[in-house]
């Protein structure tokens, strides 16, 4: 079969498989839908450029690490330009509903209002913790997958996730406290 055709087929198959994963990660990491679109586009273009260097079966790891690196680069560029991180209100539009199991309707309502606060709280976490948490909690990756993809020891991944969750809990408690104080 023609070499170009094979390349095209491989590219489209990887894109179809991971495009939403890339976008989800970028969205929650950057807190802005528009920036996430830019980064996702950058990742996919990079994928096309480096497709021949990516071994079969390692595309997932390559995509995860590239998305994470490009998101970090984007945040640093944004900081250099003096723009501050804002959580876009449009971040939750067009998202797939993912109802948590074993929750009462009241808890579900609480959770949906909480999700906005969590999205904001995520942006306050250090980049390493934020990235790993998004992979674990939102992208449903196993500890092992994250460790393999980011080439980090398994225990480091566990510690990042642990600390990230603790930090999220603290940030949310603080924001609730501030809301109550304002009210």
């Amino acid at each position: 079969m023609n070499e170009n055709l094979m390349r095209t087929l491989r590219f489209t198959s990887i894109v179809n498989q991971y495009k939403d994963r890339i976008f989800t990660y970028s969205c929650y990491f950057l807190g802005n839908r528009h920036d996430a679109e830019d980064v996702s586009q950058e990742v996919l273009l990079k994928l096309w450029q480096h497709l021949d260097e990516i071994r079969i079966g390692s595309a997932k790891a390559w995509i995860l690490i590239t998305t994470r690196n490009l998101c970090i680069d984007f945040v640093r560029r944004r900081k250099r330009r003096g723009q501050h991180v804002t959580c876009s209100a449009a971040i939750d539009s067009e998202s797939e509903p993912a109802g948590p199991a074993e929750l009462s309707p009241l808890e579900m309502a609480n959770a949906s209002s909480l999700s906005e606060q969590i999205a904001k709280a995520l942006l306050q976490l250090p980049e390493t913790q934020r990235g790993v948490l998004i992979m674990r909690e939102i992208q449903d990756l196993s500890y092992h997958d994250i460790s393999n993809a980011l080439k980090l020891p398994l225990n480091t991944v566990k510690v990042y996730i642990l600390r990230g969750r603790m930090a999220l809990r603290e940030i949310l408690a603080k924001s609730l406290k501030a809301e109550l104080h304002d009210a």
Partner: protein, 181 residues
């Protein structure tokens, strides 16, 4: 989630969190469950993490907008499609040949017209005289060349028809003498 954080019992913070996120093993879970029934602070911490887990789960996954995807495909697959050398279809090839033929005919017609004009040019007497003189010189030269050619050919004929057989005869006659001697 309360505005102040309850502190769980020492060493249980991690386990409570893992339990809330469904990552705790069976036996530890059993042990922790019984503890949570007795300890209010640990129970409150567990509720916090449970709510956090629910909130995170409700965040959901995002879909890459179609427009962005199309843009990417255009810049990758589209770019390669345009960069490829386009092979003409038979119809295009036929038309190309026809157009080239017409162009050739036009060029030939243009050349023919200019030479025609050149042919119908009016010459002065002096030019005609010069041309006659040149033609006569040329004819003279051609005559000389023809004479020389004739002489050369005649020499060749002598060599071929007379000299060579004589030489061959002599060779034949002298052969026994040369070998025998």
């Amino acid at each position: 989630m309360p505005d102040t954080l309850e502190k769980p019992c020492r060493g249980l913070s991690e386990q409570i969190m893992l339990y809330a996120f469904n990552e705790l093993g069976f036996w530890r879970r059993r042990k922790l469950k019984s503890h949570l029934r007795r300890c209010a602070d640990c129970s409150a911490t567990y509720q916090d993490y449970r709510l956090l887990n629910a909130g995170i789960e409700s965040l959901g996954k995002k879909r890459l907008p179609e427009l962005t995807l199309q843009h990417v495909l255009l810049r990758t697959l589209g770019a390669t499609a345009t960069s490829k050398s386009v092979r003409p279809t038979p119809v295009v090839r036929k038309w190309g040949i026809a157009v080239a033929g017409v162009l050739l005919l036009l060029v030939a017609a243009a050349i023919w017209q200019t030479t025609e004009k050149w042919n119908h040019r009016q010459y002065s007497q002096a030019e005609i005289q010069n041309a006659k003189a040149e033609v006569q010189t040329a004819l003279g030269m051609v005559g000389k060349v023809m004479n020389r050619t004739q002489a050369t050919l005649a020499n060749q004929a002598v060599t071929q028809n007379i000299a060579r057989p004589v030489w061959q005869g002599l060779e034949m006659a002298l052969k026994p003498l040369m070998h025998g001697g």
